[in-house]
Symmetry: C2
Subunit: 250 residues, 2 copies
């Protein structure tokens, strides 16, 4: 059984906040169907990158559209595709410094003070490891941590959450070598489990509910004592990337 | 709280099987943390397209690589990208008859008898509606139904599940018009909730566990009396598609 909940009561996070110290009392108030409360070993704590960025002081000035464009440009490594919007602005899908391909390079201007924009954490895997250590130090249990962000997908409408930072959880579940019911080897099935956990967590966190943290229980078989290779390993290397040079359809 | 479980005991499905009749006893054996059993209103029943296809008799002959290629070609509307694999075969990402962009046009040759391949359901939204009606007729409750398949993503390693058929559930959750904590309107946030539910369900179903059905509970706010517009509405229309002509990197 998979269980996921997003506790209420996470306060507004600002620069310099110790996320583990702030989240532990919130997480300890969670109650579970079996009557237990709080975190347990094998839990995956899923945190929106937004509050990680805020704690890490990644808010920058972006007083107008031009400043915001220049912030995005500063985060951009290459443009993958671009298209004119009906309102005259340009939608650019770009690869950012983290290797993530997303609109606006992952620069966020919702739920931030007017005149500012929020950059993604500089090293989300390091952020996840740090939060994992902090949660362990304060609770004695060793959950895994995912840092998530929201992105669109080519060909499909709607955004979904994905893992951009990870500590202590298999981000890919490799089924190759397993055989199907007819004895044939499964050739290509490597499952993006961290992204699936991020999506499950989004369903309980929501976008405007002020619940930036969720706990996913029941995935303990994916949780590891070591921090592991992190979500950076989810990024397809250039030589496997068939959509490296997207072409705008304008 | 979101809960998801994938019951054991779904028998092998073959052509002509009545999926609702076969699944109801399996689903009725599920037990939930609150002590209840079976299905309830507001549940989302998530079914792998594989068993829907098998019930609908979508198995075709594919005795060798050449026949399999010709089956894939028959399902292909256009090639979006292609690349030579190290083993000399060609990996093609194509749009299939349903408008889905995937490798091998969604033609499946794992967990099917030797010498055959399995096509996707001809109309997965109709399959979802039919199963929903059947479940309602047999149980009196009216869950939603998703039919799911597995696909890769550009730029990210690992496959994830997505919804290719839907009945009775909002496939997109439109947050536009909502405001953030600073009073600004959320401009672009339409969430692909059906795909997120499909991903959550995959985490409990798994690929080789013989559990092709999961039930996701706690998403009743997305479940609707009407069958709704289905998963076809998740497909990005050509005029919004910035990756219509992917370019192979060879």
């Amino acid at each position: 059984m998979l269980l996921a909940q997003a506790p209420d009561g996470v306060p507004t996070i600002t620069r310099g906040d110790d996320l583990a110290a702030i989240l532990v009392p919130v997480l300890e108030r969670m109650s579970w169907p079996d009557g237990s409360t709080g975190l347990a070993d094998g839990d995956v704590v899923v945190v929106s990158s937004k509050i990680v960025s805020k704690a890490e002081g990644r808010l920058v000035a972006a007083r107008d559209e031009a400043e915001r464009d220049s912030v995005i440009e500063g985060e951009t490594v290459r443009v993958v595709a671009e298209r004119a919007r009906p309102d005259g602005t340009t939608l650019r899908i770009v690869e950012n410094k983290l290797g993530l391909v997303m609109a606006a390079a992952g620069v966020d201007n919702s739920d931030v003070p007017q005149g500012t924009a929020l950059l993604l954490p500089e090293d989300p895997d390091a952020s996840a490891r740090r939060l994992r250590r902090g949660l362990h130090a304060r609770t004695g249990v060793r959950p895994a941590v995912l840092v998530t962000d929201t992105a669109g997908r080519p060909w499909r409408r709607g955004v979904v959450d994905m893992a951009i930072g990870a500590a202590g959880v298999d981000v890919l579940s490799d089924m190759r070598g397993s055989t199907d019911a007819y004895g044939r080897e499964l050739r290509t099935t490597v499952i993006g489990v961290a992204d699936e956990i991020a999506s499950a967590a989004e369903l309980v966190k929501g976008k405007v509910s002020g619940r930036p943290v969720a706990v996913v229980r029941g995935m303990g078989h994916l949780v590891t004592p070591d921090d592991g290779e992190g979500a950076a390993s989810l990024i397809r290397p250039p030589e496997e990337d068939m959509f490296r040079h997207g072409v705008a359809d304008d």
